[in-house]
Amino acid sequence: MTPRAFWQQVGWVFAKDLRVEFRGGVTLRMATPFAALALLLAPLATGTDTALLRRIGPGMLWLVVILFGMTVTLRAGARESGPVRDLLTLSGLDPAAGFLGRSLASALLLLGVTVVLAPLMIVLYAPEGNPGWGWLALLTIAGVMALGLLGSLVATLVTGLRDRTALGPLLAIPLAVPVLLATARGTDSAISQRSSLSWLLLLVAMNLALVIVGVLLAGPMDETTR
């Protein structure tokens, strides 16, 4: 397959996933409100000490995005029925293109979730400081991309299994620990006007590793989903 045809397939899967997601609307109608609710509940559990909330706000936002966002990406990747997967395979879809397209679509959805939840977090937790917006943007993009890749990789691993809704998060969340640390601590650094470069590089390394592993192993994994 030519590189052009490959990227066309990536784009096709990306557009298809977003279209199906917007029609189904699970991200917007369920996952995002659920995550927002978690942001509202956390201070009730920790106590509403203003200084404490100020400190934990950015971290809570990322924790919530990872936990609830993972349900979005796992669902997006594992949603297609067996016959539809057959149709895609017989249409000549390259499994690696499918992997990348799904990951990009998931990342965009997670970006949406983060952008919706961030103002809510600022209202509820009132973090202080004058953040470096450039760092925040880069950290967010690299973070949601890593989560999207991780989510679609794990979604393929649990495709067709009866216990996939419980199993998926158990497999994905431990591997998402670097995303949590890098985004949450990186946000802390950005708020206190320090460089978040090392955290950003960590996320870039993680993205690279996931892309390489995912693309190389997409074929063998795809063969097990029939």
Partner: protein, 250 residues
């Protein structure tokens, strides 16, 4: 029955006996080693903690290699070895975490030290491999199971250093607990400690080899039982016409 149902290998038995002997030697040396100056008796826990950590890493790495080998060669034996090594590796990881916590309680005064990057990342690793074992149990088709578990093993392995460094940086950004923190690496380890550590490590590695061999044997027996339970007769041969008792008016 098939000879595979009685696989009494002398090598496996010998490994088991060796593990037992080495364990006894290691235990004796650990108990008779002189007291460590700052840690006292608690230091003896390290004769369990350190070898089990090293053994766990060896086992998980072996599991990864066997899994990758499966992906290249598609040999069912490689999958069994991979599964066995990781299962035993999880056991040693649990021992590592437990002994680490007990040691920390005696020496640092806390069960859990967030400042210890290795402790945190080992815990994350432990949960990841619990997921691996759960994935194995959820898949019934041996080929599908082997491929997916091998892939997960590789993904996990690629992520392990990233997890570790993220936790390490996390730790450097945070103030450690304000308790005395004896640093093993800097304290001069004299021969009185090296010898029992070496003996214990040998005992643990022999135990690992024995447990993996036994686990592979069990997996083989399970597969043989599964094979003998299902006839070689195609499924369709067992589907008959409906029998509606008393209604067919014979």
């Amino acid at each position: 029955m098939a000879p595979s149902l009685h696989p009494r290998s002398r090598v496996v038995t010998a490994t088991g006996v060796a593990a037992l002997c080495l364990m006894a030697v290691g235990l004796y040396m650990a108990v008779t080693a002189p007291d460590e100056e700052t840690q006292g008796e608690a230091a003896r826990l390290l004769f369990v903690h350190v070898p089990s950590a090293i053994t766990a890493y060896i086992a998980l790495f072996a599991g990864l290699l066997a899994g990758a080998w499966y992906l290249i060669r598609r040999s069912p034996a490689a999958d069994l070895v991979s599964a066995a090594a990781i299962e035993v590796g999880v056991l040693f990881t649990a021992i590592t975490l437990l002994t680490g916590m007990i040691w920390g309680r005696f020496v640092w005064g806390v069960w859990w030290d967030w400042g210890d990057a290795r402790m945190v990342s080992t815990a994350v690793l432990f949960f990841f491999y619990l997921g691996y074992l759960a994935l194995r149990r959820s898949i019934t088709d041996p080929r599908v199971r082997a491929v997916r578990c091998a892939v997960l093993g590789i993904v996990g392995f690629v992520q392990v250093p990233i997890v570790h460094y993220s936790v390490l940086w996390f730790r450097t950004l945070h103030q450690g607990p304000s308790i005395i923190r004896p640093d093993l690496a800097n304290s001069t380890m004299d021969a009185a400690f090296v010898a029992p550590l070496g003996a214990a490590l040998a005992a643990f590695v022999a135990t690992l080899a024995y447990l993996v061999a036994v686990r592979v044997r069990i997996a083989r027996l399970e597969a043989a039982v599964a094979r003998s339970a299902t006839t070689s007769q195609p499924v369709g041969a067992s589907v008959g016409p409906p029998r509606l008792g008393g209604r067919d008016g014979g």
